[in-house]
């Protein structure tokens, strides 16, 4: 045996002894030079040091993802076939068991039923959507009622609020596609004048004299925000060129009309529209008004590329554009990066109510949470969060009495703890806070955290290339989440239709 090797071995042993000793004593050591309480020399705790067993892998998430991916590929390949089958399906009578809040709050198996359903059949056993019942009416009934009776005569809107997870029409565009495939409708709905991110349906260009105000940052002087929580204004004093906006829509976008949303117009504003060849194709005048107005522009539906030039002494408050059809379902994307949602409280309640009514918004989806997760680190903060969200949901309930509200809980997100990416420890409690707020306010709740597979599911989603570690969905992940949300809504819609049919049958029986 070489003496040098023995020396190496001794160094290794001594080093290990030091580390084990430190691991054992470190919580009790109070080193004199570490007076600052913020400084703490951490090391692996002895139990962890001696525990060689593997961390538990979230197998639920793995199996859920496998199911979602399978469904996703089937849906993609056979969408036409499925669509035709669904078209020919009849609504048949049958009774599904009513779900009580308690049995849907957690993961549960849906009751099996032999009845044929009007739309897609339930596709997995996870019940993530809580559509609570109050006095014989469920939280989503107002929306389902509108969906059944009004979609053919007007545009029925769904407002999809969220943060960077949705910005640029991500996620929303998939939900919209599903709704429009099933219920008709065209176009891409709400498009903000400017944004800090690219849009999935169009390429946007703008002159440099636009200002964007949001309920989150760079706040507006008063509460007259658009329903999206933003206001856009141009400043034309110092620019030789009139302010302009240009949208180059991608080939797959079809629409019948473009409308502009505005208010607070102290002078008339002329909007000249140019095509790809820089030829003026129409000119509209936005009348003077103080209140929220939807002005349909004379833009022909065939135009892929439209450039709007604005001529006015003072900029009105612009809220955005509506690019859409004449009827069916429209899903509007109202996303603000970095937002927790609570900034929407700054929108003037009356102004909000007026906009929701004029726009005919019948379902409001709130998908927030990702931006609060890193900062919620105590039960007390969870409670405060619940109260803030409760206030927000109640505000929108009051502003939109004919609409349903669906709250999407925060999805799983990872942070680096003890050298490993793991879920934020308070995520389940944050989800519970959102759920409690939603249920107290009479809203429906969709549990994205459970849909993903619960605690540490984010690792599986990341490994499959569906999300980033911070929970931001990639394209495939977005498609899956949108499809799951839509499917769950359709399951509830089936239940609603079957219940309505049963009520009619009962009434006829009584007669």
């Amino acid at each position: 045996m070489s003496g040098k090797l023995f020396k190496i071995f001794l160094i290794i042993l001594l080093l290990e002894a030091f580390l084990i000793a430190y691991s054992f004593f470190s919580p009790k050591i109070n080193l004199p030079f570490l007076n600052d309480k913020d400084i703490e020399i951490k090391f692996i705790e002895l139990d962890d040091l001696m525990d060689f067993s593997y961390n538990k892998v979230n197998l639920v998430a793995d199996s859920l993802i496998a199911g979602y991916l399978k469904k996703d590929s089937v849906q993609q390949k056979d969408s036409t076939k499925i669509k035709n089958i669904l078209k020919n399906r009849e609504i048949v009578a049958g009774i599904l068991e009513n779900k009580s809040e308690s049995d849907t709050a957690k993961k549960a198996v849906k009751p099996k039923t032999d009845v044929k359903l009007p739309f897609e059949e339930p596709t997995n056993n996870l019940i993530a959507l809580i559509n609570q019942e109050h006095n014989g009416k469920c939280a989503l009934d107002a929306f389902f009622n509108a969906l059944t009776h009004h979609k053919d005569t007007s545009i029925l809107r769904i407002a999809h609020y969220g943060d960077s997870q949705l910005e640029g029409d991500r996620v929303t565009s998939y939900i919209r596609r599903r709704f429009q495939e099933k219920f008709g409708g065209s176009g891409i709905g709400f498009v903000p004048c400017t944004d800090i991110t690219s849009h999935v349906n169009l390429r946007r260009y703008e002159s440099s004299n636009w200002k964007r105000y949001t309920v989150f940052k760079n706040k507006y002087k008063n509460g007259n925000y658009g329903v999206s929580g933003t206001v856009f204004r141009f400043t034309n004093n110092n620019y030789k060129q009139n302010p302009w906006l240009k949208f180059d829509m991608y080939k797959f976008v079809s629409y019948q009309s473009i409308s502009i949303l505005y208010g607070n117009a102290l002078t008339e504003c002329i909007v000249n529209t140019y095509n790809l060849n820089k030829e003026k194709i129409c000119s509209d005048t936005l009348p003077i008004t103080k209140s929220f107005t939807i002005q349909k522009l004379k833009v022909p539906s065939s135009q892929r590329s439209v450039k709007f030039e604005f001529i006015a002494d003072n900029s009105p408050d612009f809220y955005g554009f509506l690019i859409e059809g004449e009827n069916g379902v429209q899903v509007d994307n109202y996303a603000i990066r970095g937002h927790s949602g609570t900034g929407l409280m700054d929108i003037d309640s009356d102004y909000l109510a007026k906009q929701i009514k004029l726009l005919n918004t019948r379902l409001i989806i709130f998908q927030f949470g990702a931006n609060v997760v890193p900062y919620i680190t105590s039960n007390n903060k969870c409670k405060q969060l619940e109260e803030k969200y409760y206030e927000l949901f109640m505000k929108f309930k009051a502003a939109a009495p004919n609409a349903s509200i669906l709250v999407v809980g925060a999805g799983d997100m990872a942070t680096y703890i003890h050298g490993k990416f793991q879920s934020y420890p308070f995520l389940p409690k944050i989800r519970d806070a959102q759920k409690n707020a939603a249920l107290r306010a009479g809203c429906a709740f969709w549990d994205l955290f459970e849909v993903m597979g619960g605690m540490n599911s984010i690792i599986a989603w990341t490994n499959k290339g569906l999300t980033a570690k911070d929970g931001h969905l990639y394209d495939k992940g977005r498609r899956i989440i949108a499809k799951e949300l839509f499917d769950d809504l359709m399951d509830e819609y089936n239940t609603y239709l079957l219940k309505q049919q049963q009520l009619i049958s009962d009434a006829e029986g009584n007669q």
Partner: protein, 494 residues
């Protein structure tokens, strides 16, 4: 202590591959070393022990792919002997081709088959259900290159004789310190060490521990911290960030990748030192390079030497009649292959091609640059050259680091079309620590090599107990970065 957990941890788990910086490796290495030091002077026993540990190490990393490793080693062991002893040149060529077919066949199948099918829009699970979801044996690119080196050298008679001892040869291919990601040892460098008695000096001990500690510092304290707190998030979703943030992430990724890879390499070389082996270094301050050609003499040195010796010289020799044009084609071909070797993804191929083009530019403009250098003061010329080269490397790292072409293009578009310096102040405020780490890393890289050598020499001369104490303090320090909370995901310009 969880006894069943110990047994469980000794099995292969694809979710928990063995890493050099894990507690389990530390424990296993200690046990192994206790036996290794007893067998150290008995070459055959020492090599057998090393081989068993190497194979087990690879099993812990890659599971049953250890069989592929053994199959490749075995076939080349026999082909090498055959090539050496056959007199027929034609047969030598056939055997060389056979070896290439086997080695590159494995490599192509495991690493590139899925990529090729995807490129041509073929879903393998439908057409070839038996080969769907091909997993890649970790390190296959490295051990295939190692074994090819041996075959090439035997064929070209650059080795005096082939390796007759099967255990020695398999140990050369599977030698655990450098099986996963190099450095790619040549057979003519490593095999003589395997065959002979080794001598361990105080320098081996000091240098070995020092390299392991500095390597862990580079890898965990700097590279992992930057990856988790700055680089990964931007490269994951570049469109969520502005051009300025993307550019900052790009510069950070450049130094992060260097610290990650060179840190890993330092650990590997350090472990080899403790075993009595010397492995060639892989890096030499690459961002001091004044052009891309020089960069490749400083970056992943063993790979570029391999590419130079076995590809570029062959190509340029074959194309010598085309003079400069032949050289350029040889460069482009070599770097195309280098890109493909780095990964089955168009991003790597484009990255390789971009470096090939940059070197072709170096070749073409050499005369002009020499003329310019004569009229500009040397330090200024050097600074400008380093600056330009570093920026080229940083912009090309976008291709290297992005998971797909779409994301790479999004990054380029964001940097060049959505660049707003106005958010710089907010960014520095939000990312103070990661940015400080980036600066620290660049400063560390640019410090004179002499400083590092001096520190190493001081450590070498220390008493062994002091060496252990310093190692202990260093590990505690590194663990602080390992254990730190992640920087919250902040998106500027809300």
């Amino acid at each position: 202590m969880n006894i069943s957990g110990i047994f469980e941890s000794l099995k292969f788990s694809s979710n928990h591959p063995l890493f050099y910086n894990s507690v389990l490796f530390f424990a296993l290495f200690t046990l192994f070393y206790a036996v290794y030091m007893l067998a150290f002077n008995k070459v055959k026993l020492r090599n057998l022990l090393l081989l068993l540990f190497s194979l087990y190490f690879y099993f812990k990393v890659s599971g049953l792919f250890v069989i592929i490793l053994l199959l490749i080693s075995t076939s080349d062991y026999f082909i090498g002997l055959w090539i050496f002893y056959t007199k027929s040149n034609a047969l030598k060529k056939i055997l060389l081709t056979l070896s290439l077919l086997i080695d590159l066949g494995y490599l192509a199948y495991y690493k590139y088959f899925d990529f090729v099918l995807q490129t041509f829009g073929i879903e393998n699970s439908h057409i070839y259900p038996f080969i769907s979801n091909i997993l890649v044996p970790i390190g296959i690119s490295y051990f295939v290159f190692k074994t090819l080196t041996y075959i090439f050298d035997i064929y070209r008679e650059r080795m005096d004789e082939p390796e007759h001892n099967y255990i020695n040869y398999v140990l050369y291919v599977s030698f655990f310190p450098n099986i996963l990601a190099g450095p790619i040892s040549k057979a003519r460098d490593l095999l003589p060490q395997i065959k002979n008695k080794l001598v361990i000096t105080e320098e081996h001990i000091g240098r070995g521990f020092f390299l392991i500690l500095t390597g862990a510092f580079k890898k965990v304290f700097v590279a992992d911290y930057l990856a988790n707190n700055l680089v990964d998030r931007v490269f994951d979703t570049p469109t969520l960030y502005t051009g300025f943030e993307n550019l900052m992430a790009t510069y950070s990724a450049t130094i992060q990748i260097y610290f990650d890879f060179s840190g890993y390499t330092d650990i590997v070389i350090g472990i080899a030192f403790l075993l009595g082996f010397t492995i060639q270094p892989n890096f030499n301050k690459p961002f001091l390079a004044q052009n891309v050609t020089e960069f490749w003499r400083r970056w992943h040195i063993t790979l570029s030497q391999w590419m130079n010796e076995y590809l570029f010289y062959q190509f340029s020799f074959s194309l010598r009649r085309f003079r400069m044009f032949g050289v350029i084609v040889a460069v482009l071909l070599t770097f195309f292959i280098s890109g493909v070797w780095h990964g089955a993804n168009w991003t790597f191929i484009l990255w390789g091609c971009s470096h090939g083009l940059a070197i072709a530019y170096d070749v073409i403009t050499k005369g002009t640059r020499v003329s310019i250098a004569k009229v500009i003061p040397a330090p200024i010329y050097r600074f400008i050259s380093i600056f330009i080269t570093l920026n080229f490397l940083s912009l090309s790292i976008i291709l290297f680091r992005s998971s797909d072409i779409t994301k790479a293009m999004q990054m380029y578009e964001t940097i060049f079309m959505n660049f707003d310096l106005g958010i710089a102040r907010d960014w520095f405020a939000a990312y103070t620590y990661p940015f400080a780490m980036v600066l620290f890393a660049y400063v560390l890289h640019y410090l004179p090599q002499q400083w590092n050598n001096s520190l190493t020499n001081i450590y070498i001369k220390m008493h062994w107990t002091l060496k252990a104490i310093i190692a202990f303090v260093a590990i505690l320090l590194i663990y602080q970065a390992f254990n730190t909370d992640t920087q919250p995901f902040i998106y500027l310009e809300f």
